[in-house]
Symmetry: C2
Subunit: 306 residues, 2 copies
């Protein structure tokens, strides 16, 4: 079944210990939709500027990603510039130019309305909520956010959380949102805010899936590892790629069983592990389904007793 | 088969967000031998002072731990005082009194000489090496160390590493020892120093097992999770308890297959997860084998797809 995703399509200028790249094709919606496209149909809602050309369009087209919801505005694409020189786990932002994103008003094409899966990538919670409310009939809604919205836009974010089935965030964000250093307690508190499933990403240590129970305590958890990698070229987009693999796999399944969620966690880790092997979305652009399944099997060997 | 362990038996005064305890029975050899005692026979080499009495002896006796190698010296037991008020992952040391440990000269009872497994807990590498050399016929030698020895006693430590089959250390120690921030590269470098198996502990994120290959690169890895816990009462001794579960299980196995190592990683995580549930060694003292196996199964559910 198809996923509609709303989020950023951007140009990133990135410096890591492995080198520097200017104006890579990036943005949360780009990473997410490339990763998810290996599993299901993806439809994007975003805005780009006049500097988004045929070369960038081709990246989406080659992965059969529906771009009819990408609006062309006058001006330039959203630009981000950052580095990971001292710490590969945390970006240092040098510059952010919102450009056409500053006045972004998501418009949902009529042809997207039958999507059963909706992903609200990390953007202003006011926009996330608007898209959520415009698609009331979706079967499953997942979303992402970041410390900036948790810290400074909490009331709007809490409204979004009420409408989510699944929230994907990282450790620090979960602890910040719940104001609790203990991960399990933080997870329970966050699930009390709306989402019945919470995925907490731990960077190089993998991710934990929490299923909420009706009494508000986590009834079941699952831990997926990350791939131990000799070299992380560029961590940008790892979390969005995880989300794409996770949600893309779920959308491809006939039934959302606990087993499907567990496998989705593995596919999320798999896509995250590929994303960091090259700058920007380069690795996702070149990936094959066979490579994905091979790495899925490697993850199984990495974690299973027999 | 029996394990001989050399290390500290101590009194710890500990403050955590859950409270404070003075003079808990602790020390690396205590945690290790209690944890390992659920799997195999354990023999301890250590030194205690005149303040080590019948109550402490009973803890070892109840777990059938051989204490004939625990020397009684005049003076007081090794004492450590520390807190985890701001960060449960890192102890802040307030006071260390070496006492009888200052002049510790490990003596190996003749009855220990047929031990096939040797564990060198975290003590001065000069002493670790002396014990290693006095027991040349053991089948498998594992050891631990800490940043203090890596930083200030590197030549002596490198001598110890040459005589180890397995090294168990934490993330920060592995990166420090190899002087490389990347975990996989650091692991390969550490295995180049001697141990053919390396266990890197990640605290609340579990642990990774690296098997060295003949060419010096890791041929195979395995990741065991840690248990997501709602409350960590006292993290003291978690690493030593992990080592006890890991090495104790290995010593109980007829053959050291890759499968045995994988299961050993799970048992290590299981014992570490119990250790932190109460202050000091309280939880290990009260534990049953049935509880251990139940938690082993919970770890399997936490990580396995089917």
């Amino acid at each position: 079944m198809s996923i509609t995703v709303v989020g950023s399509v951007a140009y990133d200028s990135i410096e890591t210990p492995s080198g520097r790249r200017d104006r890579c094709l990036g943005g949360a919606a780009t990473y997410f939709s490339l990763a998810a496209s290996f599993f299901t149909d993806v439809r994007v809602i975003a805005v780009v500027g006049q500097d988004f050309g045929p070369e960038q369009e081709a990246v989406f087209a080659e992965h059969k990603i529906d771009c009819r919801g990408i609006e062309r505005a006058s001006g330039k694409c959203f630009c981000w510039e950052g580095s990971y020189l001292e710490n590969l786990n945390e970006a240092r932002t040098h510059n952010t130019e919102l450009n056409v994103f500053a006045t972004f008003e998501p418009k949902i094409p009529a042809v997207y309305r039958d999507s059963q899966f909706l992903f609200l990538a990390n953007i202003d919670p006011v926009l996330q909520r608007r898209v959520r409310e415009a698609m009331p009939d979706v079967k499953l809604v997942a979303g992402d956010t970041m410390n900036y919205w948790i810290d400074g836009h909490r009331p709007a974010l809490l409204q979004v959380l009420k409408g989510l089935d699944i929230l994907l965030i990282n450790d620090g964000e979960a602890r910040m949102l719940a104001n609790d250093k203990n991960l399990v307690r933080a997870a329970n508190a966050v699930m009390g805010m709306g989402p019945r499933v919470l995925v907490v990403k731990h960077g190089e240590y993998g991710a934990t899936l929490f299923f909420g129970a009706s009494d508000g305590t986590a009834s079941k958890t699952f831990r997926a590892p990350a791939m131990p990698l000799e070299e992380v070229i560029d961590p940008t987009g790892a979390g969005d790629s995880f989300a794409g693999g996770f949600f893309g796999y779920l959308a491809s399944q006939p039934r959302l069983t606990p087993e499907a969620f567990r496998r989705a966690m593995f596919y999320g880790s798999v896509m995250g592990s590929f994303a960091v092997e090259r700058f920007g979305t380069e690795r996702l652009q070149l990936l094959s389904r066979q490579e994905i399944d091979n790495r899925f099997n490697a993850f199984r060997e990495l974690t299973h007793l027999d």
